[in-house]
């Protein structure tokens, strides 16, 4: 059985089926491992904890990168595409992260983590809480203490800003 032309059926949590070429599907290390010992022409792989909307997004990513590799797409183009791909709301972003981690797609996981890290960077604690709807669960004394300990960091960034 050649790997070319082989189709993998991925079934989302909500029973939607996605037909994907073998090379695209096996960008997920999990699926690659599952398919290792199977030789049928079409294999159905249930993905029990990823819903259709997110799975579609993940497959979109895999398909693009599979193609990009095949036709030797330039780094800048890929970078640009990745950036556009990650322009989603927080919910979808976290869903993609969880899916990428479950399906073990290292590059997508990396991209997602980088995106979230980019959102966190250069923001104050209050801004981060607001952005992700996180409740600060420290007592006031703890907050004050941590602010003091971390003071030198903000001191520096202010100085840097002033220097610029």
């Amino acid at each position: 059985m050649t790997e070319k032309g082989r189709i993998v059926k991925m079934v989302s949590q909500d029973q939607e089926e996605f037909e994907v070429e073998y090379g695209v599907a096996t960008m997920s290390t999990l699926i690659a491992n599952v398919l290792q010992d199977v030789s049928e022409e079409t294999t159905t792989v249930p993905i029990p904890n990823v819903n259709a909307q997110v799975l579609a997004k993940v497959i979109e990513y895999c398909r693009y990168h599979y193609e990009a590799k095949r036709i030797d797409q330039s780094e800048e183009d890929i970078e640009r595409w990745n950036k556009d791909f990650m322009k989603v709301d927080n919910k979808t972003l976290f869903n993609i992260l969880i899916a990428a981690s479950f399906l073990d797609i290292a590059d997508l996981l990396d991209l997602g983590c980088k995106t979230v890290a980019g959102m966190i960077k250069d923001k104050s604690v209050e801004q981060i809480r607001e952005l992700f709807c996180i409740e600060g669960d420290f007592t006031e004394e703890q907050e004050a203490k941590m602010r003091e300990e971390n003071n030198w960091g903000s001191e520096m960034s202010q100085e840097n800003n002033a220097a610029q």
């Binding site: 949590q13 909500d14 029973q15 904890n49 819903n51 259709a52 909307q53 997110v54 927080n90 919910k91 976290f94 869903n95 992260l97 969880i98 981690s101 996981l109 983590c113 980088k114 979230v116 890290a117 980019g118 966190i120 960077k121 923001k123 604690v125 981060i128 809480r129 992700f132 709807c133 996180i134 409740e135 600060g136 669960d137 420290f138 907050e143 941590m146 602010r147 300990e149 971390n150 003071n151 030198w152 960091g153 903000s154 001191e155 520096m156 100085e159 840097n160």
Partner: protein, 403 residues
């Protein structure tokens, strides 16, 4: 509520229980959605078949996953991976006070392998101490850079090799750091895995304090003691005899180091790739002969203002085929040395510094330019009356010439 209406057979009931149990962890959204679902559809959902139940459950599940995800739903592991992309420990420490969970996850030792105060050189002594007090997290610290941190006391630097990172530390950079001294540096010999020590411009560190490192850190590969005070032959010989893995050695400005030490060094440390002997004014061709005979892997050699001459240099360029960078500013070399460079460094040499080598004539410079095809940078500045402007233009390629 008519929640029970939809349950038909025992299998489904078990399934629903299982799902309920698993969804209990996220009670807010599930109950909310479930009740919304029931309130809008319960009129039509009086009796259903097993398959539609599972469909409904699936739908419920979909809505749950579509509605709930927030950063709180990411596993600790994912959060660690996000933190790893923040660009450094100091950026990480800035965001940890967001909530208790972040603070806890941020203590993961995977995040604590490198601590660098690059861009945060104003760090106060007290702040560094409070970081060092974070025992558990420091357990896996491999690399610590306090380069140019000028508010750090000797006492605080002494605390570093006494913190839990002592067994994991592989690299320490104290260049220009105010806390590096003959009292603090020798304590790093407690770190058995130390591979990299950078003490550039640590005036307060004396040669005899370094000997301790030589004797107790046999794995050293990178050592920079540029401008340390009173570095003598015996100290260099101690490193040569005990640290056979040295790849990078910078002993620039060690004015009392002589050929005797360099000969021993070349005999013992055959893996040396980078050697900086600039301003070691006692160095002569004797050292160069030893280097030529023993160091085939040498990539970078700096001999600015030493006493090396044509003959020694000729030996080096003949034997060290890997040489990419050669610095010979203010060395008493002449046309013979330049011709040897042009002859033997044709393919690999990338950077050549001949500043103030007054005995090298224009035609030798032109010969080097035309022979050394990889040359990226050539410094022939402050030479008397160079008249090679128009010649240089014809070698426009990648080569940059200062004159």
């Amino acid at each position: 509520m008519k929640r029970e209406v939809v349950i038909i057979d025992a299998d489904d009931e078990a399934e629903i229980r299982r799902r309920r149990r698993s969804s209990r962890k996220r009670p807010r959204a599930t109950t909310e959605i479930a009740s919304r679902l029931l309130s809008t559809e319960n009129s039509s959902v009086q009796v259903e078949t097993g398959s539609s139940v599972s469909n409904k459950l699936a739908r419920l599940e979909v809505q749950r996953t579509a509605e709930v995800p927030s950063i709180d739903d990411l596993s600790d592991d994912l959060l660690v991976q996000i933190f790893q992309h923040l660009g450094g420990l100091l950026e990480l420490m800035r965001v940890l006070p967001v909530c208790k969970r972040w603070l806890r996850v941020g203590g993961d030792p995977r995040l604590w392998s490198t601590l660098s105060f690059y861009n945060y050189e104003h760090v106060s002594d007290a702040a560094l101490r409070s970081i060092l007090a974070n025992g558990q997290a420091l357990r896996r610290l491999k690399s610590l850079s306090l380069a140019k941190c000028h508010r750090i006391s000797e006492e605080t630097v002494r605390l570093i090799p006494k913190s839990p990172c002592v067994n994991s530390l592989e690299s320490i950079d104290l260049s220009w750091c105010s806390g590096a001294s003959s009292r603090s540096v020798p304590i790093f010999s407690r770190c058995p895995g130390l591979k990299e020590v950078k003490l550039s411009y640590c005036w307060k560190v004396h040669g005899r304090a370094l000997k301790c490192l030589a004797l107790r850190c046999p794995r050293l590969e990178v050592l920079d003691i540029n401008c340390c005070t009173n570095v003598r032959d015996s100290h260099i010989i101690a490193f040569a005899e005990h640290c056979r893995n040295l790849r990078y050695l910078n002993i620039a400005n060690a004015r009392s180091v002589s050929d005797r030490a360099i000969c021993r060094l070349a005999e013992h440390c055959k893996n040396l790739e980078v050697l900086d002997l600039s301003w070691c004014s006692k160095i002569t061709d004797v050292s160069l002969n030893a280097i030529a005979a023993n160091l085939p892997k040498l990539r970078e050699l700096r001999l600015n203002e030493t006493q090396v001459s044509n003959l020694g240099l000729c030996q080096v360029v003949k034997s060290c085929k890997q040489l990419e960078e050669l610095h010979l500013a203010r060395c008493p070399i002449g046309v013979f040395a330049a011709a040897s460079i042009a002859l033997h460094c044709r393919t690999n040499l990338k950077i050549l510094n001949l500043a103030c080598c007054e005995a090298i004539p224009d035609r030798a410079v032109v010969a080097i330019l035309s022979c050394c095809i990889s040359l990226r940078s050539l410094d022939v500045s402050t030479l008397p009356c160079r008249r090679i402007g128009n010649i240089v233009e014809s070698f426009s390629g990648q080569t940059i010439v200062y004159y």
